[in-house]
């Protein structure tokens, strides 16, 4: 099978799984879990196979229905999409496995997996789409599934958070739609490569600046950048525990960061004003996220604010725009996905056993639940940037890139925020993990499926220790390097896509 024929399966496999689960889940309950796990592992396998073949071919294009662009809708995979797909599907497969144990508390569990699979179909669609409106549609599918998932617990707070998230996010989507309308009016095509070609061949226009502003607001909200971040801590607090894990690890990275950088680097071409605005947002996110995290007593809120601050690092690297900085950002996307999903899974597991989200009420997790305790410790150390772990290297690369590009102020802020991160993680996690084990908390009956929650956490902990190996020559290194080249040589994307369409 030629590799480009694999691309549509990234979307059809989760989508088909979603429908099969809703049909068979009601009849036989285990069917839901089994179908969801098989589908997520399958899409991980497909993205792995695509990642291998992308290093050989460079770019893969699937023309849906055999129609040639610009009339037809292509699915384009280059190294950047392959890298993002691999990260996203890896996290998603582990989160699905984790969910099997976690969602036992709910009635109608199979519907949870339906929504999760719909969300993954949307996420994969955003990553492979080569058409700007198609990207918007997939983005909406993923967002709609997420609103429902946030409200899945059906408590008052969960519904409130979901409503807030849905309203803010749909206003952002409307801005995006208007941006697409302006873009279509200006370029009279919706295909990203043709839009890029049109913009390249014509003098700079005001329409593009206007569209850039609309897209910055739209995708900035999906990425939880600082002025648009307010939905995130609320949505993370009351959702089922796997949702913050997948949202932090996959959703804000793919729907926000990936879509934003794909459009700004590869389609519009990065300009000075846009990169200055991005630097501004990134600095507010880094500082604001880490300062707000100090006052939190709810563990998931703390992790949510930490996510905002780490997204700041990622955007900072992209905004600086040197090859080293972008490589650091891509590596940080991977490391942060792994470590933050791990921390949210750990928080969910602690919550399940101790029955609280309050940091002050948790203590002695390491002696009570060694697997959860030690893996959370590794995740926290990775986010803080303690040397042998992945988070250290990616932050180091971003800080070096700031210095190399001559932005000493930004480098100072990045170091300062890193110290702040260490401080608030220490403040929160030291008592939770090592605190004296008092008998105030009654430990409820042991969860029989705890091992299903432990396995993903152990895998993620191992990956976040081993991710330094990705800096040595290997597949991931090649992939990161090729992805960096794709982003750095922004407008080459247009020529490569149009060249391989011939």
């Amino acid at each position: 099978m030629s590799p480009d024929l694999m691309i549509p399966y990234l979307i059809t496999v989760p989508l088909a799984a979603a429908f099969l689960i809703i049909i068979f889940g009601k009849i036989a309950r285990p069917a839901g879990y089994i179908i969801a796990c098989i589908a997520s592992v399958l899409s991980l396998a497909i993205s792995l196979a695509l990642a291998f073949s992308i290093t050989k071919y460079g770019i893969l294009i699937y023309k849906v229905g055999g129609w040639m662009p610009p009339a037809g809708i292509p699915m384009v995979i280059d190294c950047y999409s392959a890298f993002i797909l691999l990260t996203a599907n890896f996290i998603a497969a582990l989160v699905t496995l984790y969910s099997v144990s976690y969602v036992r508390r709910y009635t109608d569990r199979w519907k949870y997996f339906t929504l999760l699979m719909l969300m993954m179909a949307g996420v994969n669609g955003v990553a492979v789409s080569g058409d700007i409106f198609n990207m918007f549609v997939y983005l909406e599918i993923a967002s709609l599934a997420t609103y429902a998932l946030v409200a899945f617990g059906n408590e008052g707070e969960a519904l409130e958070a979901s409503f807030k998230y849905a309203v803010m996010s749909s206003v952002a989507s409307t801005f995006m739609l208007i941006g697409i309308a302006f873009l279509y009016n200006y370029t009279s095509t919706l295909n990203m490569a043709y839009i890029g070609k049109f913009i390249m061949e014509n003098p700079p226009a005001k329409a593009i600046s206007f569209v850039s502003v609309l897209f910055l607001a739209g995708f900035g909200l999906k990425a939880a950048l600082a002025p648009f971040h307010t939905w995130l801590p609320d949505a993370y607090t009351k959702a089922p525990a796997p949702i913050p894990a997948i949202s932090s690890g996959v959703l804000i990275k793919v729907l926000g960061v990936y879509a934003l950088t794909r459009l700004f680097f590869n389609v519009f071409g990065m300009t000075k004003p846009v990169s200055h605005v991005l630097v501004f947002f990134a600095v507010i996110s880094m500082l604001g996220g880490s300062i707000l995290a100090f006052g939190q007593s709810n563990i998931r809120r703390l992790l949510g604010y930490s996510s905002i601050s780490q997204i700041g690092y990622i955007i900072l690297g992209f905004a600086i725009g040197t090859p080293l900085a972008i490589m650091g950002s891509l590596f940080h996307i991977f490391n942060h996905s792994v470590a933050k999903s791990l921390l949210f899974m750990g928080a969910g597991s602690m919550e399940q056993s101790l029955g609280t989200q309050d940091i002050k009420k948790m203590s002695g997790v390491i002696s009570r639940m060694p697997v959860t305790g030690y893996t959370s410790l590794i995740g926290a150390l990775s986010i803080c940037g303690i040397p042998p772990l992945g988070g250290f290297w990616s932050k180091l690369i971003i800080i070096f890139a700031c210095i190399q590009a001559g932005y000493f102020g930004l480098a100072f802020i990045a170091v300062a925020v890193s110290i702040l991160t260490l401080a608030y993680y220490f403040k929160a996690y030291a008592p939770i993990l090592f605190g004296r084990q008092d008998d105030v908390l009654k430990v409820p009956a042991k969860n029989k499926t705890q091992f299903l929650m432990d396995i993903p956490m152990i895998i993620l902990a191992v990956v976040s220790v081993a991710s330094v190996l990705f800096l040595t020559p290997g597949v991931m290194n090649i992939l990161i390097r090729l992805a960096t080249t794709t982003v750095v040589n922004g407008k080459d994307y247009v020529n490569i896509v149009l060249g391989s369409l011939k």
Binding site: L144, G156, T174, I178
Partner: protein, 112 residues
């Protein structure tokens, strides 16, 4: 030109409704209005002067046809809007069951 300005006014009405109203249902209506304005704008972009429906039949010349792409796009966008609307209304009903109110200033258990 004036028709685009009317479209902008419609959008602003929706945005005002989302930002200023305190009732959940009114916020949902505001989102609906915003979406209609965006869809209307997209359709207007595809309009040509004195244009006719873009249906290609056997013995017709392709002349004075409006642009069919925005129509296809808007059809998809309307479906997405419908899905969003249903979800929002369902959530609003559930919120009413839990809080016994539609007033967003009274729905404030999340803090921090």
């Amino acid at each position: 030109m004036s028709i685009y300005i009317l479209c902008l006014i419609l959008f602003s009405v929706g945005l005002y409704c989302v930002l200023r109203k305190r009732n959940l249902i009114k916020i949902i209506i505001g989102i609906g209005i915003m979406e209609y304005a965006a869809n209307l704008f997209f359709v207007l972009i595809g309009y040509r002067n004195e244009g006719r429906a873009p249906i290609y039949a056997h013995d017709q010349v392709i002349k004075n046809m409006v642009d069919p792409v925005p129509q296809a796009v808007v059809l998809t966008s309307i479906v997405l809007g419908l899905a969003l609307m249903l979800l929002l209304v369902a959530i609003a009903i559930r919120i009413y069951e839990k809080y016994r109110t539609f007033d967003i200033t009274k729905i404030n258990r999340l803090k921090g």
